[in-house]
Symmetry: C2
Subunit: 127 residues, 2 copies
DNA sequence: TGAACATATGAATAACTGTTCATATGTTAT
DNA sequence: ATAACATATGAACAGTTATTCATATGTTCA
């Protein structure tokens, strides 16, 4: 009379139906590809640090070299990537080229990411 | 051969000062590293598609295989990564193992990313 | 029990990515 | 024009990563 335990349920789970449902509610394949490309830019610690720094203040290349302790070449290469991804813009002042964020979404994405980290850090501290 | 090098005239822009300023206002090196690690998970189109699908509905592995047209092995490998990153969780029902998002921040990050894409897409359509 | 199904996993590989090194381009002052 | 400075860039190399293949584990059903 107690609860009867079903060791197996005859649930018919329809893959094709579920897949179809999800497909109808998903962004286009192309958009999801672009999205991954966007996050790829955020997926390197040198680049995140650059973006984070630029969210504080405009900086020239050598400032970033000083700040991050990376080689001038490395920074320059990463800045090019950020430039072609339209996440930063640059303006020349004499010998210097100053970089700044091109878009408010950049810091927004970084902020959300940090929020997530801090949140889950508090949740499961152990392990 | 200690050549006496004249350090050039003071410029209007001080690298060390700017770097110092930014350093004081930056998250810790460790946190920025973790942040990059987090975004790394979002930086593959297969994984983004998985997460996006799971933000709609719980799905089992084969649903995802159907939906994404990738091999069962590939999906499984990516799910493991998502699992160990604590971005998805799983529960077993008979033969199936159902996956779902483990955290609201996941869809939040995806949403912000998509927002950025759509925004900038509209801004500069040309080139 | 064995057969069929659902998922996981280790190893191998091909493709990609970030850094370094060497060098080039562009700018300013002498 | 030359030197010194600031930045950019191509090539090469080492390290990483996503997929595939083969196989293993776990579950249900006859």
């Amino acid at each position: 009379m107690a609860t009867e335990v079903f060791t197996h349920l005859p649930e018919e789970h329809d893959h094709k139906l579920t897949a179809e449902f999800a497909r109808d509610h998903l962004p286009s394949e192309e958009e999801l590809f672009d999205l991954a490309e966007l996050f790829k830019v955020f997926s390197d610690s040198t680049r995140v640090r650059i973006m984070c720094a630029l969210s504080q203040t405009e900086m020239c290349v050598y400032d970033l070299v000083e700040l991050l302790g990376a080689s001038q070449s490395a920074i320059s290469h990463q800045l090019r990537l950020l430039r072609t991804s339209r996440l930063v813009r640059s303006r020349r002042v004499g010998k210097h080229i100053f970089y700044s964020l091109d878009d408010d979404h950049v810091s927004s994405i970084i902020r959300t990411g940090l929020e997530h980290l801090r949140h889950t850090k508090g949740e499961h501290d152990h392990e």
